[in-house]
Symmetry: C2
Subunit: 261 residues, 2 copies
């Protein structure tokens, strides 16, 4: 799925993503892509195993070069955290430490709150194979754990970055929960709908489908209900007018000009 | 991060994940891993480019073999959908089609509802490079679009599967939004806290820190507030008792036995 670079890049002021000793360049790239998907731009790397810069990171970022190229390198986790006010550790492990553990959505909300009060935040992610050590986790104020299948909760590094980024993004996102995409058209007005339905009903009387006068009202109600449920656009109603006319055929079209019922 | 296979695998009755013409085995494997992370087990593959079975899919599933090995192969998207009652298309593209578009959380809620009423559901995901075509999308009842950075909304295949699976999982998940992990200990009682605080205050009087009788009440209040805020466990209070005793030194320990104040 190609990125839509025509629209302006929108990188909001978000938490720093701190990858601690990441092993594979591919994962750094995929994490960077996930960050940009969610409008996050600040990537910090602590001792990436295969050095930096890393070609594989660029390739797998699939266009999120702005994040990869802007990444900052740090010699230690403490250095990477030094200027931050609130640091979170993303880890699924229960350790013998007394720490607040938040779900991603609650953590994201807290981070939004801190950052809008001018307090910088960052999230630590451990190496692919082992995750954060207990010592590394202990440096963070709070733990974030993604609730997942307890029998299989080990998340890929980029997947973990994505889920936290996604929760962060969606808080400020105003996409309606449900929308009807109407393409180039617009939803039909009630008058347009009635005009179509009159047309349909007229033809169904002419072709004999509604000949049973007793059953007619309920059949009409059912048909009306079906077409209303479809929430047609103005364009679709025009198509439906055409369909009805086509079914009616040339003979009907002539008859239609006479008084119908 | 190693999986915890000790706990029983928990695969709930969830929607089928239908990968349409997936290109890379790696992505099929990573998608399978994401599915199992979210308790989804039913993977359907429509004409995977590199054939099936695929070794790379197994490797990158990182243990989610149960999903990869259980995948069903279909010759066409229509075959893969045939037995399902509600089919959703995961796509970010706005097409000239009149379709309901849901956010992942609302779609997940709808799918839960349908499935608990016994109506089977599936979600279509297109090939990595192009996503679903218009014709493929038109086969689905409803579109699911993940709200993301409009300037960079192209999601990796496995990331798309993860986000939808995550929304599906979390609806039935009862993880508290915030928890305090207390390890092997338990939160201290108020009485235990007061015993510690008495000990601390006593020593601070003995060592002269609280010698200023006028300032003492506010200093004590501030200290009390700080330690209360930390919400100590019973084990931590015992550690703090030890810390205070160690600071007091042997001389103090003797003095303590005399009436303190």
């Amino acid at each position: 799925m190609a990125g839509t670079n025509r629209r302006r890049l929108r990188i909001a002021e978000g938490p720093a993503v701190i990858l601690v000793e990441p092993q594979l360049g591919e994962n750094i790239g995929t994490a960077a892509r996930a960050m940009l998907n969610c409008g996050l731009g600040e990537l910090r790397l602590v001792k990436p195993r295969d050095g930096w810069p890393n070609d594989k990171a660029i390739t797998s970022a699939s266009g999120a070069d702005i994040v990869v190229n802007g990444a900052t390198l740090f010699p230690s986790i403490e250095d990477a955290m030094a200027d931050l006010r609130h640091v979170y550790a993303a880890t699924a492990r229960n350790r013998h430490m007394v720490k607040r553990i938040l779900t991603p959505d609650v953590a994201a909300r807290e981070i939004r709150g801190y950052m809008s009060a001018g307090e910088s935040c960052g999230i630590l992610f451990g190496p692919e194979r082992t995750g954060l050590t207990s010592d590394q986790t202990s440096l963070a104020e709070t733990v974030i754990t993604v609730p997942l299948n307890p029998a299989f909760s080990s998340l890929n590094l980029a997947q973990a970055v994505l889920l936290l980024g996604y929760e962060w993004f969606r808080i400020a996102d105003a996409t309606p929960a449900e929308a009807l995409h109407v393409g180039h058209s617009r939803p039909a007005t009630q008058a347009e709908f009635e005009r179509f339905f009159d047309h349909l009903e007229e033809e169904l009387i002419l072709n004999g489908f509604l000949r049973d006068r007793e059953k007619r009202p309920s059949m009409v109600r059912n048909l009306r209900s079906l077409f209303l449920r479809a929430q047609c656009t103005e364009q679709e109603l025009r198509t439906l007018h055409g369909v009805v006319t086509a079914f009616a055929g040339p003979r009907r079209r002539v008859e239609k000009k006479k008084p119908g019922r």
